[in-house]
């Protein structure tokens, strides 16, 4: 075991998988350059050479198709996008090609392609560098869509994605890159489709995605301290396949559910989760499902507007208080996560 960051965990998983399987290669805009995709591709060029660690033209559409073609021919490409927003240029390849080729060939072909995409936030990322898009991707049969939260998730789910025989989109929130924890040194996988209980509790369930899990755990700790309520935080980790059983069991136990999705609410993954909870726990829940997400606007750049756009720890605390009929706690003495404390740009 070693204490490593989320970013180091991604890097280690990729290197270990490339060591294990010569069919794995990584490519994308800037992948081998000196910025090394925030450090996540560090050392790969030196270790495996430029044929297995490739820079590309700024041509997301074709480069996605090229990954699909290489995957059809027995390779296991990893295509990296420094922002999810850039992946939208490749929607045709994802939705018309990658997701359909196994089905449309009667299972004779398959596409073992991993697509890494970073979700940006803060320091003026604005409306074209900050989207999540997981609901859109997860809507399409034939795509697996995952979002590791912890460093251990990052390592085990990256390895599982690379070994998976299907297209897997892995969404990496930029702020999670600095999370640290003890992670096994040797290669391991976390099965895609298995969620994770990040904090045990008995009074209320917060189902959170991506970065909002960090906010949810902090909110739960503060609520425990101030109100003595015991909040369970459940992270689905995978949008597809979805660990319905884990989510349902938690809500059956606590009777209350807040869904905190790192995305817009309308037609989003939070709607899918709310519907899932109602379908399975209608008799068990003591209050309606509450959904928390981004403001229904493009993401603004100015800090004060951006702060209002994103839900945060306080948003979650207030939602729990309202749901459980608690008085609003004084939070002035609490220290919340501040992105600006550790990051000054450019991205």
């Amino acid at each position: 075991m070693s204490k490593i960051s989320y970013c180091e965990a991604l890097n280690k998983a990729i290197i270990q998988e490339m060591d294990r399987d010569p069919a794995v290669f990584i490519y994308g805009i800037g992948v081998p350059d000196h910025k090394e995709i925030f450090g996540s591709t560090a050392g790969i060029l030196e270790r495996f050479g430029s044929e297995r660690c490739m820079d590309t033209p700024i041509a997301e559409d074709a480069m996605t198709g090229i990954g699909i073609g290489a995957a059809l021919n027995g390779m296991r490409p990893i295509h990296v996008h420094i922002r999810v927003d850039f992946l939208l240029l490749a929607m045709n390849q994802l939705v018309n090609m990658a997701s359909t080729i196994s089905y449309g060939s009667g299972g004779k072909l398959n596409v073992p392609l991993v697509i890494r995409a970073v979700v940006g936030r803060g320091w003026g990322q604005g409306f074209q560098h900050s989207k999540s898009m997981h609901s859109t991707f997860a809507h399409v049969p034939g795509l697996k869509v995952i979002a590791p939260t912890t460093p251990r998730d990052a390592k085990g789910m990256m390895a599982a994605a690379i070994r998976d025989n299907n297209p897997v989109i892995i969404l990496e929130h930029r702020w999670l890159y600095w999370q640290e924890e003890e992670v096994e040194d040797e290669p391991f996988t976390i099965e895609l489709g298995k969620g994770n209980v990040l904090r045990q509790g008995s009074d209320l369930t917060i189902i959170a995605t991506s970065w909002l899990n960090v906010e949810a755990v902090q909110a739960a700790d503060i609520l425990q301290k101030i109100h003595g309520v015991n909040v369970e935080v459940v992270d689905p980790r995978c949008f597809y396949p979805l660990d319905t059983e884990l989510l349902v069991n938690s809500v059956r136990k606590t009777g209350h559910c807040i869904v905190a999705d790192n995305d817009w609410i309308h037609c989003g993954f939070s709607a899918e989760l709310a519907a899932t909870i109602y379908e399975h726990c209608y008799e068990d829940i003591k209050s309606k499902v509450t959904r928390i997400g981004f403001a229904e606007t493009p993401c603004p750049t100015a800090r004060h507007l951006e702060d209002a756009f994103y839900p945060n720890t306080e948003t979650l605390i207030r939602a729990v208080e309202e749901k459980l009929g608690l008085t609003e706690a004084e939070l002035d003495s609490e220290k919340f996560f501040s992105h600006e404390n550790r990051f000054k740009g450019p991205f």
């Binding site: 559409d61 090229i66 699909i68 073609g69 995957a71 390779m75 045709n92 089905y103 025989n165």
Partner: protein, 318 residues
């Protein structure tokens, strides 16, 4: 077997299969939109005859000729047209997504230009594996209007991939002529600026297309540079469907008549007889065998069972 006879048989198999589609379509048992290859047989059969079974091809929704050229298999072809369990994809793909990867027929896409980049990826893998396989991607002149064609050509040239881009140029995208779509005069002149070999041919002679392709493959292999081939043909039928559509007045029937004189099957048949490569009686037997093969394939397809309803949920993931 004599090359000229072999090529004639390959041409006729495509034509006979599509004539059978026309003959049986009215029964409404082939429930699939048909984008007919009629008119382009020499282009596809000529290029494919220069390939080995290990070489890989990708195409479009207009891939009847490509599938039959690469596989010589009309049984699975018709089974797929009829949506049967014995088809290429248990009836899930229909006419527009034919594939048989074991015979190098990889993917065909119904989204114009979408399989071009896929083909470049197939070629990239072949280069990485150093397996000497050639990849050929077929697309129409509508596809060169799309950005992804240029992105794909650029990357293939940059990485010196073993791939041939075959532009099956019929001068018309659905119903819109190239003159109304393209802000340049000659695609070949534009492509000439890229680091690839560049060829342009307008012929319905399958043998000359075959010989040209052989030379192109050799050039791609010896120079490690991709090639671009612009091969012109005339689309005999409507964009989608089994009928002629000259009454719609978006194109001129006179053009069709000019091309019909040099119909690829007719040209090759004349060669066989004029050069006394085969006696007419033998030729009639060859032709009758091909039509018989197609009729048998149709009949097998009609008799084959539909796949079970459970098949609906199979193969979304592997």
């Amino acid at each position: 077997m004599n090359l000229s006879i072999t090529l004639y048989k390959k041409l006729l198999l495509i034509r006979a299969a599509e004539e059978a589609i026309i003959n049986y379509y009215h029964e409404d048992e082939m429930k699939s939109p048909m984008h007919m290859s009629m008119g382009e047989e020499a282009v596809v059969a000529g290029v494919c005859h220069a390939l080995s079974i290990e070489d890989q091809v990708l195409g479009t929704y207009r891939s009847h000729a490509l599938y039959i050229s690469k596989t010589q298999d009309t049984d699975t072809f018709f089974a797929e047209m009829y949506g049967k369990s014995t088809g290429t994809a248990n009836g899930k793909s229909g006419s527009m997504h034919l594939s048989d990867p074991d015979k190098g027929m990889m993917v065909s896409s119904a989204i114009v230009s979408s399989s071009i980049s896929t083909a470049v990826g197939v070629a990239l893998a072949n280069k990485m594996k150093k397996n000497n396989r050639m990849t050929v991607v077929f697309f129409g002149d509508g596809a060169i209007d799309a950005g992804v064609f240029w992105e794909s050509l650029n990357f293939a040239c940059l990485e010196r991939l073993p791939i041939i881009f075959v532009l099956e140029d019929n001068g018309i995208a659905v119903h819109t002529s190239d003159k109304k779509r393209q802000g340049y005069d000659s695609i070949s002149k534009v492509v000439a600026q890229y680091n690839c070999h560049n060829y342009e041919e307008s012929t319905t002679d399958v043998e000359s297309i075959y010989q040209l392709t052989q030379a192109v493959i050799d050039k791609v292999r010896t120079t490690s540079q991709p090639a671009f081939m612009k091969l012109s043909y005339y689309r005999y039928l409507e964009h989608v469907g089994i009928n002629e559509d000259f009454h719609d007045n978006y194109r001129c029937e006179k053009e069709y008549e000019d091309w019909r004189v040099k119909d690829p099957i007719k040209v090759q048949r004349s060669r066989l007889l004029e050069n006394s490569i085969v006696k007419e009686s033998e030729l009639i037997e060859i032709e009758s065998n091909i039509y018989q093969q197609v009729e048998q394939s149709v009949s097998k397809a009609k008799q084959a069972p539909f796949s079970s309803i459970q098949t609906l949920y199979q193969d979304v993931f592997k």
